[in-house]
Symmetry: C2
Subunit: 137 residues, 2 copies
């Protein structure tokens, strides 16, 4: 995989919501919004309900596609990154580290009693972007 | 299918972006942002590139899932609608009618030379929503 440019990493890192698409066991696509955290390199982390449609889909098909985009009525400002990933569960100390980052990034989690559920590492194996321009050097 | 409540219809109608998930021929999920128009009932319309990954996916698997959601740092304000749909191409007079609605809804289309490409009717066969509360009567 071509390395993610710094401009794309910064865009992914700043995202407070992304949309994740999976394939259900019956072959139908599924998509939900989730709040991610990013390791700055090739892994995004999300926490999902262990009995959710997304969790059940990932048991059957671990490939998952992540969309991070910003809509603007000014279409010259549209930006998006699509990340092709493979999901794997994170447990134990690794999960606790992810949750430290989640708590820091989303202090509002405390208000909704959101505690660790099924924490998934989404390993990026491919990507494409549109509209994200690196700052001039 | 249970009819869409007025509150959900209003939410869908107001959306200027949605995310649509499809399944590629190799079984991998795909998701992109698009600008929809809505007939107010059980059909959403989107226009996509005829050679895009989404178009190729739909040739193989017409089932498509639409996510319309609003993110807010205040998690009590999170809202989403997921629409399970089947896609079919719209041509001729029907396509021109959809495009009249697109031109009205998105006047900025003129600035990007966006003209009719592959216009798809997404027929809603199932839905779920979270966070959308009907106004009290």
């Amino acid at each position: 995989m071509k390395p993610l440019p710094d401009s794309v990493r910064a865009f992914v890192d700043a995202a407070r919501v992304c949309r994740i698409a999976t394939v259900r066991t019956d072959g139908e696509p599924h998509v939900i919004p989730v709040c991610p955290v990013y390791d700055g390199d090739t892994t995004l982390y999300v926490d999902i309900g262990p009995k959710s449609t997304t969790a059940r889909a990932l048991e059957h098909e671990p490939r998952i596609t992540v969309l991070i985009d910003e809509y603007d009525a000014d279409w010259t400002k549209l930006r998006k990154v699509i990340l092709r990933c493979t999901a794997e569960a994170v447990t134990g100390v690794a999960q606790e580290r992810v949750w430290e980052q989640i708590r820091t990034t989303y202090p509002q989690y405390a208000s909704v009693e959101w505690s660790p559920r099924l924490t998934m590492a989404l390993r990026i194996s491919g990507w494409l972007q549109e509209g994200i321009v690196s700052p001039a050097h």
